[in-house]
């Protein structure tokens, strides 16, 4: 991590209204390459809304996003994916009825031409999936296994594999360990550490101080839709961060 270079992703003055409700007000966020930023806050603080704005699922009411120094307007998750910005949703966003490989490539399936027809290239999907899962050291029986047959931790691993299959530069994870058994949490945190080593900027939203203090380099707190506090992990403590979540400095 280096603070001297430009941030990979920067959000300036993000505001989001839902009808009369102000979900976010003038929120700023930065993440650098190879860095993990932890985002904490109580329920309703605006964490998930902010992430959905970053991924292009919601359009901000005001504010702007800069990717590698250039201003970008995201119309849909497809736009953010094209920039190399990937999101791992809390509800995982996997289709249980499809195999692992088809989930990883969902929406971006490799195809081959058969005359004038563009058909899915299943052998390529399988080959790329196996190579990618190997790279991330994720163990599953087979890429053809349906996602609904997997355990919670395996599903989380597939969701992370999905987010990194296309040379992602920034990966945003919403509560990556919330639904997991204790022994699976460690594997997911390892996965986040290995992503950082490849130069990916990671944003982790979490309630769990253990997660934040294991993988993050910096932590910022949202309170009632606004920036509340921010610090390098080395210069803060669990108690202080917990205080921020409750709105105390």
């Amino acid at each position: 991590m280096s603070a001297t270079t430009n941030p990979l992703l920067e959000a300036k003055g993000i505001t989001k209204y839902f009808g009369t409700i102000t979900a976010l007000e003038n929120v700023n966020l930065k993440v650098y390459a190879g860095e993990c930023l932890g985002v904490v806050g109580d329920n309703g603080a605006g964490k998930s809304t902010l992430m959905k704005v970053l991924s292009g699922l919601y359009k901000p009411s005001a504010g702007s996003l800069f990717f590698q120094g250039k201003e970008e307007i995201l119309e849909s998750p497809r736009d953010s994916q094209n920039l190399g910005l990937e999101m791992v949703y809390q509800d995982l966003a996997l289709a249980g009825n499809l195999p692992i490989g088809e989930n990883i490539f969902l929406g971006r399936e490799p195809t081959k031409n058969l005359g004038f027809l563009k058909l899915l290239d299943f052998s390529k999907i399988k080959e790329l999936t196996n190579a990618h899962l190997d790279k991330l050291k994720i163990n599953v029986k087979s890429a053809d296994q349906k996602v609904e047959e997997l355990s919670g931790g395996q599903r989380q691993a597939v969701a992370i594999a999905r987010s990194t299959a296309f040379n992602a530069k920034v990966v945003i994870m919403d509560e990556p360990t919330a639904a997991l058994a204790i022994k699976e949490v460690g594997k997911v945190l390892d996965l986040i550490n290995s992503l950082k080593k490849t130069g990916v900027g990671v944003i982790v939203i979490s309630h769990r101080m253990d997660d934040i203090f294991t993988v993050c380099d910096r932590v910022m707190a949202l309170f009632q839709g606004t920036n509340f506090a921010e610090a390098n992990l080395s210069s803060t403590s669990r108690d202080e961060v917990i205080g921020w979540i409750m709105g105390k400095k």
Partner: protein, 337 residues
């Protein structure tokens, strides 16, 4: 003892995927055998087999359309009415003296537009469930069909218009007798089903249709334009209903107000018997075909045995419940406990 139990468990876990894929074909084969034993002279005769295919020809189109909709976890109650409206438009255009190639295309366009109307209604008007939109259009389309035809049958089409539903492919060059012909509608079923099998299993759009049924949020988060895919699915369903209308025009040589009445329920039944899940994301084109065949063979066999049509209703209803119950049992066996 424990080892043996484990072996049995792993055996049925290994067999499950095959049962899931081909179990419904097994049921079909059993039915054919039973019918053959009960009616050895008639049932498997050339005449009767082609008859079954002619009878299921238009239903198979509706069922295929409804199947795609069910895969997205939706429902289309209006396919029977779309078919009737398309048929009536065809009849009116034919009576007005339009050339046959225009007459043949009109029901396809009409069906497609009806489906497009459903799809746009569901997505743009943000109906809480496709059930509501298509329940509405079930009435709207049939009413419109009666309005343009005056509620009376319109009969008499040219041979070209009737070709798909009534045409015969002569097989005498194969050394067969003149009565051993191939109905054009049988060839049409095969072609349409193969095209849609390729579409659903080997195209991106087809894969996305399954993904939407499995988890619409996942599809949306993957950058898939879910509403666009839904509009495509309902439009194709309407288009297939239009093909059904064209086949029916050939078979009956008439556009009549009661065409396709309650056939949306037959179409849904065929999908369910064929293993499609109402919760979406599950089912195969082969399964739908088997479901349509099972219903066709049941009706045909019971007719051959002079069983009253009331009993046919009771039996078809029982098969729906039984087929789904077998599916529930299969799922129980397939999950590790």
């Amino acid at each position: 003892m424990e080892d043996k139990d484990k072996k049995i468990v792993s055996l049925h876990l290994k067999l499950m995927p095959y049962l899931e894929k081909y179990g419904i074909l097994l049921l079909l084969v059993i039915m054919i055998l039973v019918m053959h034993i009960l009616q050895p002279d008639v049932f498997l005769s050339w005449r009767n087999v082609t008859n079954v295919f002619k009878q299921i020809s238009w239903q198979s189109m509706l069922a295929l359309g409804v199947f795609m909709v069910i895969v997205t976890a939706g429902i289309d109650l209006s396919v029977g009415s779309i078919m009737m409206l398309s048929l009536m438009i065809l009849a009116v255009v034919a009576k007005a003296g339009a050339p046959w190639y225009i007459v043949v295309i009109t029901p396809l366009i009409a069906g497609f537009l009806c489906g497009l109307f459903n799809g746009l209604g569901i997505t743009l008007l943000r109906m809480p469930h496709p059930f509501i939109m298509t329940l509405g259009t079930l009435y709207i389309f049939r009413g419109t069909g009666n309005l343009i035809s005056g509620g009376t049958p319109i009969s008499g089409f040219t041979d070209e218009v009737r070709y798909l539903g009534h045409g015969r492919i002569d097989l005498q060059w194969l050394g067969l007798e003149k009565s051993q012909y191939l109905p054009v509608s049988l060839v049409l079923i095969a072609i349409v089903y193969i095209i849609f099998w390729i579409f659903l299993n080997h195209s991106k759009t087809g894969k996305w249709i399954y993904a939407i049924g499995g988890n619409p949020n996942a599809a949306r988060a993957s950058g898939i334009n879910v509403n666009k895919i839904l509009v495509i699915v309902y439009s194709l369903c309407g288009f297939l209903s239009g093909i059904g209308a064209l086949i029916l025009a050939g078979r009956t040589d008439s556009g009549y107000p009661n065409a396709g009445l309650q056939s949306e329920l037959d179409a849904i039944a065929a999908c369910i018997i064929g293993g499609a899940s109402f919760f979406g994301g599950r089912g195969t084109v082969l399964g739908v075909f088997a479901g349509v065949m099972i219903m066709g063979i049941l009706r045909n066999g019971l007719n051959l045995m002079d069983v009253s049509s009331f009993w046919q209703q009771v039996l078809i209803g029982s098969i729906i419940v039984l087929a789904v119950y077998v599916d529930v049992l299969r799922r129980d066996l397939g999950t590790r406990k």
